[in-house]
Subunit: 461 residues, 3 copies
């Protein structure tokens, strides 16, 4: 098989049962793992290496040749070498003319180099067709076959035919190629595997901070205070009772923070009289992590539900209830039904149930496969209308829970109000401002501004 | 840059770092928003407008030219104008020959015009390559960057190369292009953003109607009757007790309605002896919204579970239980364990738990990403076998719940039976008919009919 | 319309409103159903059949011709006939040259023939462009319009243009084409619709076996033992109490079995000093069904949660609690709060809640649409870090639940320990081994081995 024929064959997809030789430059771990897999998929593989001695680690069925010899055998060459060694390719540039070079490299840091590795490769070997692929797959995953995670392989490149050849190999390995467009996408593809939930950092740090604050707040009020004044040991409250105070508080505050930037943005736009000025940076960032804020809030709400539902099987609660009943029985008295209490208790439970139910619905619609199946109008309806309804129900749940205790002096210990009162501040602000914004005198100009109208057209420049 | 070279370059994707000029006709809100975004993505942008004066609203880096001048600068022209103004393009037809025209327009109503806007554009400018895209994206979403919703952009068009160019721009904006095929898909793409959960209308209206009916039914039996005859104020029942009667009733009825059209269809096919006659229209529509009916039923079932699990922490329930215990203690009597009651109580709870568990499983498999990963055989197995098992368990749950009360005269107030008895009518009909259909004497001909056999071949024409 | 012109037109996608004739060979059920649908989508359809008499079952708007005549009318021919009749095509080979042949056939068994039906077709008619498609769609689904299941149609073929034509028809029918690459993928596509949850078989059989074992184990200890020694009838325990013992046991064991193969693999690699030797087959298979094992475990955990939360509304539990309270009241004694009990009870509940919460999180991230949106690093973080945390929490939940009863002789009946003690064996082994593996003296060489290092390079060959 000479160089020309192999090139031609590779580009002619009409030879179904004969697969093209694939060349891999580099016999490191990733190169070998990929080689193994490609051989299993039925492709002949040649390795290009500095030392042409067959190592025992290299798949048996693969040939090991010098870089130049190996390159001649195949129309497609996978670069399983690190970016800092790419310059050895410069003398080979002539020979690589017209070949498909697959850049599989990753960096150690996000945006480590000014240009992506794939673009750097394209500059070094101008005549080659560079395709970025496989960088999101780990050698370990390839070898162990445990591809439980994403089977998606991002592919980008400027030459459609070259991309097609690479995508066929990806499919042959049982993976799913995703065409990400031209080589300009390489930078983003190279950054992708280095991320660790970047959008989740702020919501998680914020909720950790708030959790710590409210933990010590509740500890002071509910454990230390009774210990100091009544010498009662309620230390076991830190296991369920205090978490079950913190969770609803955080759920409510975080849910309100999801809708806070929206009303802030509306105020800013009304004040400026235009939508063509950028929001401050912090507001932009806040708006972008609203989905994550909402999901963290949902997690706290779910924990609150679980903690609440186990209340009747807690040993402490059973003891307290039976003590009350026994003391009533011993005192020979039966209480009549207090209808007001029944109303209050049932109302806050029902509000909580409905609020949680809508919250879960919001969570389900934010699943990627669900939100991809609704259009913009439907998404707005769910996230905005149902979202505000959820916030209203959850706020009402907390207000009714407070009930008559709001103004009772007994609920202040060391001048500290009940923790749930603090949690009401943000949601009440959001709801009041939103309520004001719904009035036509504010809603009308806002709608016009969002449709492109400007109060002072000369103002924006 | 003259007209010819720009055309050639645009079609040659081998110039990685140099992006093609994009022309936008129309300086309205959407045109400007899209222009901003495209400039941010690194493309040069020219606007084509009637008045060539640069407005302060137009992105600074963009040129504003006459339509003809602007069109010459680019190979791709985005039509950010409304359909009713398209006719100004007729004199420019010569100049637009071979250009890629991107139709981004939407209508105000579904199927407003006989042909889609994109097809109309293609008729007006016959030499151009028309591509439909971007109509599912809102100007507001583009500007605020809050693309939490679907990032999918439907693209269709008859020219593969033109479609490719548009899809590259879509990707550069951080959106996901979805190739929907030829320009014939434009009508559907234009209707898409106008929909608001069309398949959900019937299930939601039906459940609202049933909810209203059962609310007043239960109100009469459980609140008004005791008030009239025993002068007891159980008005707080409308908060939890009555919803917790309505939810399971609706869940059961709606779940049965999911499987009703299937048995109806089988009866119709058996009667007609062929599957080649269309079903009546109402049956077709009913069959198409079965998934939505099932999900609404699941929502009611989930609410029922939540309402049931909070029972022990309701103030009324605690009062009732402690009253009973106290009166027993005061009367100095201890009841022995009633094993029959324990059996009944545990059985209906267990049946309910298993039914709900399978119901949630059904719901999970109906998530788009899950149902896309199962084949037809697996989907049938889950939705049909597990579905009927769920219906059987839920019906049995209700029957056992009724237990001995079914025939007790005490459960009839004002001749009204308990509400849950009414809820058993539909599921029992479905289960009995399905049970009859499983017999070989009916199952065999049905299977043959569904494989294409006809009893009276001449009958069908 | 003569043969040549039809061929040319079919390959020219620039004729938007005129759809190409589609030819269907075979007038069986699937052929007719597909024909109906394609006619509805606006394509002219001709049928090729041995007998050219129009049957009443064939759609009215379609022509029925001989195979040769029909083939001449269209550039695309759908083969709605069974593989064993393909050989009638041999004499037509000349006429089918250059046509697009769509193989829609399925087999009765997985890997029934050495080569796929589509490849066999390509061998029989070498000049034709064979495309595999539509085999995952059932005739029944096409006719009844109830495409609730996957709308995905896998398409593969060696000719890009031919594939494109078929994918356009797929889209016109309202289905989603998925390009699976070259014709080599046909074998897998043909096997796909025959599968019934192949990866779930082992987890489900294993859990059925364990369920049976633990059911009789618990029956002996909790129902038969008290009946024999105390003559108490606790037969109703088999409805809720015993399932609520079995579910957590199975959840814990199966969860531990998810992480067991990982530590086994690490031990094997450390022992061998290389990662380049294949694992034993059983370990490979075990590793591949870990996701399914985990989801089955999650199902049991969810049932355990539901069974636990209904405890306070069980008739038996209410009777037991009120008996205790009444006897205390009658004996005129009040117990003080036992803080140790409160701590133990709250701790095991809280550990269970947190463990279940993380378990659900793991389950959500294993949804296809979610795991496709996280990168490898994020997936590893969730499935490994959070997974072990879940296992630790659930094991601790069981340990604390046991509490003081572990060494009490009362918990041994007929020398049988409590069932939950048995469930702790596997998770404790996994956690201890994992804990040992985390020590640097073992972790370091393991990391090096997984990066490709070998202790005895000559050993591996």
């Amino acid at each position: 098989m000479n160089k020309n024929s192999s090139n031609i064959m590779a580009l002619a997809p009409n030879t179904p049962n004969k697969k093209e030789t694939v060349c891999i430059f580099g016999t490191g771990d990733f190169g070998r793992a990929l080689g193994h897999k490609i051989i299993q998929a039925g492709y002949p593989v040649v390795f290009g290496s500095r030392s042409t001695q067959t190592s025992s680690l290299i798949p048996k069925d693969a040939e090991v040749l010098s870089h130049a010899e190996a390159a001649q055998k195949a129309a497609i060459i996978i670069m399983a070498i690190q970016r800092q060694h790419y310059n050895f390719l410069t003398p080979l540039a002539e020979m690589l003319h017209g070949k498909v070079l697959v850049d599989v490299s990753n960096n150690l840091k996000i945006n480590q180099y000014p240009e992506s590795n794939a673009e750097y490769l394209a500059q070094l070997v101008p005549g080659a067709k560079v395709v970025k692929a496989f960088n999101t797959v780990s050698a370990w995953a390839l070898q162990s076959g445990t591809l439980d995670a994403s089977r998606q392989v991002f592919v980008c490149g400027d030459d459609m035919g070259a991309k097609q050849m690479v995508m066929d190999i990806v499919r042959a390995l049982g993976l799913t190629p995703l065409d990400q467009g031209s080589l300009l996408a390489a930078q983003e593809i190279e950054n992708y595997p280095l991320q660790l939930f970047p959008m989740w950092k702020f919501p998680i740090l914020l909720s950790l901070g708030l959790t710590t604050f409210f933990f010590f707040y509740c500890l002071t009020r509910d454990v230390i205070y009774p210990y100091v004044y009544e010498n009662k040991d309620f230390s076991f409250f830190i296991v369920i009772s205090i978490p079950n105070r913190i969770c609803p508080i955080l759920a409510l505050i975080l849910l309100a923070l999801v809708y806070f930037p929206g009303v802030l943005a509306a105020i800013i736009q009304l004040y400026r009289g235009t939508k063509y000025l950028r929001f401050p940076d912090w507001l932009d960032k806040w708006m972008l992590c609203r989905k994550q804020l909402g999901l963290v809030a949902l997690a706290f709400a779910s924990l609150h539900v679980l903690y609440t539902l186990v209340i009747p099987i807690r040993s402490f609660v059973r003891w307290r209830i039976s003590s009350q009943i026994i003391s009533q029985a011993l005192n020979n008295k039966t209480e009549p039904l207090n209808t007001t209490n029944a109303w209050l208790s049932d109302s806050y439970l029902a509000l909580g149930i409905l609020g949680f139910f809508l919250f879960v619905l919001l969570g389900i619609t934010s699943l990627p496969s669900v939100s991809n199946n609704v259009n913009w109008r439907e998404f707005r309806f769910v996230q905005s209308k149902l979202g505000y309804l959820t916030l209203i129900l959850c706020t009402a749940h907390t207000l009714v829970y407070g009930g008559k205790r709001f103004l009772s002096p007994l609920s202040y210990r060391w001048y500290l109000p009940n923790a749930y009162m603090l949690s009401l501040i943000v949601p009440c602000i959001v709801l009041v401002v939103k309520f004001v914004l719904v009035f036509p005198c504010l809603d009308k100009p806002l709608t016009r501004i969002r449709q492109g109208w400007e109060r002072n057209p000369q103002y924006s420049e």
